[in-house]
């Protein structure tokens, strides 16, 4: 019954999306005040989708094996958290989550958005309904999560053990909130193009949505990176894997959009460009979904592959992205040009920021798709790896950091180079000190990590400069947000540079009691013993690690064997210190009775994710600050 109810809710929601599209379209033709009708429809559509999603969660929690999806991905021996998270740890469930977020975001716009011109809002909601409709069709015709299985099996087929990790409960939902949250920006852009209403009011209405989606993307990518780092047991934190790139590309576009929308909101510049970025950002989300769901590229992220689904998403992709870009080309010429500005100005720095972010986006996009392009042209199989991405994107990222340091120190409209130089003196001094110190401490360091450390020092100082000589208590919250987010970038880059330059790695096979040295640590394998978990067994090594011969810490890496389905995973054990992490992996037993141990000492590696968290925190502060200011303005308007 539950499954049927869920399916019915989905069909009803799809029908309401069609109704929303119809009402919106006729509202645009000027038939009465349609907004009053569109709003409740959008909310009801979201409620029904949410109901379907909750029902699927219930099916997973109850391990209802008569539902095909549950039978394939659930198992009664699994802890409840993983039954719960298993709901979206598979294709159909994750697509249902995608659609749920899409509908809820649409309802959010319908309920909360009061600033936008009414016709533009109606067009926006119609666009959102159009997107939803395509993905409902995809769910109902190509990925029904509620399909029954007859006869029901006695036990489910479990879940990929790599996915049995608390990370899975949070990582995909945050990423999806980000991906799909960008759909709102896309719909806003389409709406504004339809009514030719691109201006500061449009930008101010769109900005909180972009910010919120961007915060979620930042959190999702940061969490995903840390998850891959400790769960895969490879010691790396970013692999330039197609699925990782699929999350990075919308983030890059959203970051650019975030900055250009600010120019549009405050200075009424960059009109066409902002609309373009809003289209591109969600397009990147959809391209990412396509790449992941069609299995067209090989990735460490193994997802169920079905070419029919790939074709379906491709058709949606062609319709939505192609349609939006065609609308852009046809309409944006009629949008009035915004105000102009001097190259040496904050707008100028933001334009540079946008161009550099777009360049990185292009590099990542081409690198990700190159294997596909090469294969369709020459039939040759190849893969593009970290060397390409690092060499191509690294220098641009450094230039981007320089622009990031300059931007906040420049005035809007026009500024003097000499004044800028004065404001930059201290950061430049710090960068020079960092250069000197690094060369003294690590003479053989590679150029990219060296520049990373130097830029991190300079940019870190420059990012704090906007607070200089300011009354900190009266500094607006969104300024704090910008400062903290920029500082986060510097912190993160410092972590990346330190990790890539100073990591010490060793792979050894040792007997019990033997001592291994890695990066100033002494690590001894004390014992290896079998242990049993809820649905796995493992051999667990006990390591004692000492940095100085006096104090000692215990680590317990495991080699786990799951039985449903039978799979082995390595659970790394990580010791976090203020100055880095000791990362240990227990491997197989060799024939002569030794154990393989893989050890890394990664100085300041935690800064990578701490920086990511700071970036997201900065975004959150900016969002709260903007919303508060607009709320106050609205209140003033009412009382005036």
């Amino acid at each position: 019954m539950i499954a049927e109810a869920g399916l019915a809710a989905l069909w009803l929601a799809a029908a309401l999306a069609a109704l929303q599209l119809f009402l919106g379209a006729s509202g645009l033709r000027g038939r009465g005040d349609m907004l009053a009708a569109v709003r409740p429809v959008a909310v009801a559509q979201a409620a029904l989708t949410m109901l379907a999603f909750i029902l699927l969660i219930v099916l997973f929690l109850r391990v209802d094996l008569s539902v095909a999806l549950v039978a394939a991905n659930d198992h009664s021996a699994k802890p409840w958290l993983y039954k719960f998270a298993g709901t979206w740890g598979n294709h159909e469930g994750s697509m249902l989550m995608w659609v749920t977020i899409l509908a809820v975001a649409g309802a959010g716009v319908a309920l909360l958005e009061r600033r936008l011109e009414q016709r533009t809002l109606i067009a926006t909601l119609a666009a959102q309904a159009l997107i939803s409709l395509g993905f409902y069709a995809f769910l109902l015709f190509a990925s029904n999560p509620f399909a029954r299985l007859d006869p029901a099996p006695a036990e489910g087929q479990g879940l990929n053990p790599l996915l049995q990790d608390p990370g899975l409960a949070f990582h995909p939902p945050t990423l999806y909130l980000g991906y799909v949250g960008l759909s709102v920006a896309f719909s806003f852009a389409v709406g504004a193009l339809v009514t030719r209403d691109v201006g500061p009011a449009f930008a101010r209405a769109m900005r909180p949505w972009v910010l919120a989606a961007w915060i979620m993307l930042t959190l999702g990518i940061t969490a995903g990176s840390y998850w891959a780092y400790y769960e895969l047991g490879w010691g790396g934190w970013w692999f330039w894997d197609p699925v990782e790139n699929a999350s990075l590309m919308p983030w890059l576009a959203a970051t650019a959009l975030l900055h250009s929308v600010t120019v549009l909101a405050t200075r009424d510049g960059l009109r066409a460009w902002t609309v373009m970025l809003a289209v591109v950002a969600f397009s990147m989300s959809m391209v990412g979904t396509f790449l992941v769901r069609s299995g067209i590229l090989t990735s460490v992220h193994a997802f169920a592959v079905d070419p029919r689904r790939g074709s379906f998403i491709l058709v949606l992709l062609a319709l939505y992205i192609g349609g939006a870009l065609a609308l852009f080309a046809a309409r944006v010429g009629t949008v009035r040009e915004g105000s102009r500005f001097d190259p040496v100005s904050r707008e100028g720095a933001l334009v540079v920021n946008n161009l550099l972010l777009s360049a990185i986006l292009g590099i990542v996009l081409v690198g990700t798709l190159y294997p596909l392009i090469a294969e369709s042209l020459t039939g040759e199989k190849l893969s593009v790896g970290a060397p390409y991405f690092n060499a191509a994107a690294g220098p641009i990222a450094l230039a981007l950091m320089a622009a990031m340091a300059l931007g906040p120190l420049l005035r809007w409209g026009r500024d003097q180079l000499r004044a800028l130089a004065r404001r930059l003196a201290l950061p430049l001094l710090l960068a020079a000190a960092a250069l000197l110190a690094t060369i003294l401490i690590a003479p053989g360091i590679d150029i990219l990590p060296l520049l990373g450390l130097v830029f991190a020092a300079g940019v870190g100082a420059a990012s704090l400069a906007p607070l200089w000589k300011r009354n900190l208590r009266r500094t607006p919250l969104f300024t704090w947000g910008m400062v903290i987010a920029h500082l986060g970038v510097a912190v993160s880059v410092a972590g990346m540079a330190s990790e890539s330059a100073f990591t010490k790695e060793t792979l050894v096979s040792v007997r019990l009691g033997e001592m291994v040295a890695v990066g100033g640590w002494g690590v001894r394998l004390e014992k290896v013993e079998p242990i049993a978990g809820p649905n796995w067994t493992a051999v667990q090594g006990t390591l004692t690690a000492t940095p100085d011969g006096v104090s000692s810490y215990t680590l317990t890496p495991q080699a786990r064997a799951f039985w449903a389905p039978p799979t082995e995973t390595n659970e790394s054990a990580i010791l976090s210190r203020w100055n880095g992490q000791l990362y240990t992996v227990l491997g197989h037993k060799t024939e002569d009775g030794r154990w393989q141990l893989r050890l890394w000492w990664k100085p300041f590696v935690t800064l990578i994710w701490a920086g990511g968290a700071l970036i997201a925190l900065g975004g959150a502060l900016a969002l709260i600050g903007r919303l508060r200011r607009e709320h106050r303005a609205a209140v003033r308007e009412v009382w005036a």
């Binding site: 591109v280 491709l314 080309a329 596909l372």
Partner: protein, 175 residues
């Protein structure tokens, strides 16, 4: 000029779309051709895979007569499936040398006892280094090597009865 620029994003997107479509339509082929076709075998010298037969080295392929080089393993099921075809090729007078991948002598002996032994020489490649060196990505694979030790033809997967004429004609061409 300006109007053209506005259409450029759509154009770029359509190009990408074309790539996606070809990527989807083309059947997934996991066969990887050796880049060494037409090139001489790399230098190698493998220890015997079984105690009763000699190992195999590059020099064994340079006596002027074309031969087959079969990449197999006792743990590989399709290798057992192709054994009768190899047997048949050996009976028609084809010289077949073999490289056993990641295998143990006792397992190879067992395998040959059960499925027949068409091989003259069997080298043991416990780390797959020779396999990778000659551009083979899996087992079983069979290479036609001409009398000068140059790789002429690569058969990927198990040899079926219908593949035998092709292999024989490739051997003839390599003469």
């Amino acid at each position: 000029m300006k109007r053209f620029v506005l259409w450029a994003p759509l154009l770029v997107f359509l190009i990408f779309l074309g790539v996606f479509v070809t990527g989807l339509i083309k059947p997934e082929s996991s066969t990887i051709r050796s880049h060494l076709l037409g090139h001489p075998l790399p230098e190698f010298k493998l220890a015997p895979g079984v105690p009763t037969q000699p190992g195999v080295a590059t020099a064994d392929f340079k006596d002027g007569k074309p031969k087959l080089l079969n990449v197999f393993a006792s743990w590989c099921v399709p290798c057992a499936a192709e054994a009768p075809q190899l047997e048949q090729l050996a009976k028609t007078g084809v010289t077949i040398h073999a490289v056993a991948i990641r295998d143990r002598p006792e397992d190879i002996v067992d395998f040959l006892k059960r499925y027949g032994n068409p091989y003259i020489r069997i080298g043991s490649d416990p780390t797959s280094s020779v396999q990778i060196g000659i551009g083979s990505s899996g087992v079983p694979e069979t290479f036609v090597i001409d009398g000068k030790g140059i790789i002429r033809y690569q058969h990927i997967g198990d040899i079926r009865a219908e593949n035998i004429p092709t292999l024989l004609s490739e051997l003839e061409k390599a003469r």
